[in-house]
Chain length 256, copies 2
DNA sequence: ATTGGACATATTGTAAACAGTATAGCCGCC
DNA sequence: GGCGGCTATACTGTTTACAATATGTCCAAT
């Protein structure tokens, strides 16, 4: 091997000038198959709140490495979909009763605003999309519980999309997921998430450009969902106990 | 060393039964000093959109390891505060013009709702907190740009806190940060984020329990902020160019 | 002089081994 | 017989080194 060049070049202390990342590949971690898999499993209620998400098992299940799984779990944890506990691992998030109520309150605010904006912005393409979804929801097999859950969630997402605000759309997506967790935690067993007649009504009102009516129907629909969950009675005792122990533990730590 | 026990114990195929994580330590990654440091640096505009966040440099600056930094950056990326580009690294997020508008629209919706709820729920402790903040904001040194920025952000956060909904509070926090990025990207140089008189007005209306007035003032305040930013003219050409190249690239990839 | 290629460097991404911690089961003790 | 300590195990968390990618710089050729 010839070495026609001096061994070291000059140190170069100037900053590298760094082209700014204008034309970057916008592929996000949200498109990651692991993230998507866990999210759909949760929204379809195949994964229940509190379920353990072991890294090795997930890595084997998805055919990937632990590092990849850790990244996905961290991402889901910052979205409050999973809960990470130091040295114990990751679990499907279980909202508290207060948090469940806050989630529904937030949905009341955001989705009523979304319906309002959707009526304002409704155009031909939007009408077509909405009609297509309503037809799918009307015709779907009601015995297929997983498909039902996916479709009802998609209706709310579609309304947020029609509102034309991506930030609001992301928030709605997040709130939908957290609603799934809230319902899974506090539901009376056997009841569906959404009452089956509400979506066609809301959709029809949007198509008729009846803004006040659509907003009212959406608010009513969400309140109806909210009234279907109840705080777990036995659960409260347990929570009280754990609160006591936590307080004791904190005091012991603080007092020395 | 004696070995009184058989070498292997029985395989134990039963699932470990796994106590559920009720009494978990809720310390979150949001409390992480690296995350907090970057967030405050951004909200005080010491870090500008597009700035490179190199892992080694951050690790040295915070006196920690690269792994820790990577975790923090991933978390910030899922909150859309930093942008991660494969093999290029992390940068302070730079919202598009459309995204900036969506952020303000979302703030209009959420913060007007928060003001309304704050008026409804206002109690003695809330009044005291609000008065204390207003006094701090009135007395602060206006030449200290960093303190000013922190205080104006804290006012909006305080209103969200008074609304009593943790989910909404988190959303407001996120929107405040993204607003900082939007303003830093599109501001006319030298103007403050919030007009200085708006906060005392809104605070007084809340204290007077004038719900409609407070909501109106908040909406007006946010619209005023929004009108202060302008799309970058020279920027549009660049964006157009990158759009052309991206489109060409996508076509090439799709066509084979 | 400008352009294209190739090396060198800096930085990110990944794998594997190691260490630390909580949990479960067992034995001795009261 | 119930209870507390002890040990083994399984899991997470961290460190380390290595590989891959992008980028800047230099040289050669046109």
């Amino acid at each position: 091997m010839k070495r026609t060049r001096p061994l070291k070049r000059k140190p170069k202390r100037t900053e590298p000038k760094l082209r700014e990342p204008e034309a970057a590949d916008p592929r996000s971690i949200d498109d990651d198959p692991v993230v998507q898999g866990i999210l759909t499993a949760i929204s379809q209620k195949r994964l229940k709140p509190g379920a353990k998400l072991g890294e090795d098992k997930l890595a084997a299940a998805f055919g990937t490495t632990r590092i990849h799984i850790r990244q996905a779990l961290s991402h889901l944890a910052s979205r409050k979909v999973v809960m990470q506990i130091p040295n114990r691992g990751a679990f499907v998030y279980r909202p508290s009763w207060a948090e469940a109520q806050d989630i529904f309150a937030a949905r009341r605010i955001i989705e009523t605003a979304a319906v309002s904006a959707a009526v304002d912005r409704l155009d031909k393409a939007g009408k077509a999309e909405l009609k297509a979804h309503m037809e799918r929801e009307a015709r779907h097999d009601r015995n297929d519980r997983w498909a039902s859950l996916s479709l009802t969630a998609e209706f709310h997402i579609l309304v947020a999309k029609l509102a034309g605000n991506r930030v609001l759309l992301e928030m709605s997506r997040e709130l939908m997921l957290r609603t799934s967790l809230a319902i899974a935690t506090f539901e009376q067993p056997g009841e569906p998430d959404c009452s089956p007649d509400a979506h066609p009504d809301i959709g029809a009102l949007i198509l008729a450009r009846d803004k006040a009516g659509a907003v009212h129907a959406m608010r009513h629909h969400i309140e109806e969902m909210e009234q279907r969950i109840r705080p777990k009675e036995g659960k409260d005792e347990v929570d009280e106990l754990t609160a006591i122990f936590q307080e004791i533990g904190a005091r012991a730590r603080a007092g020395g």
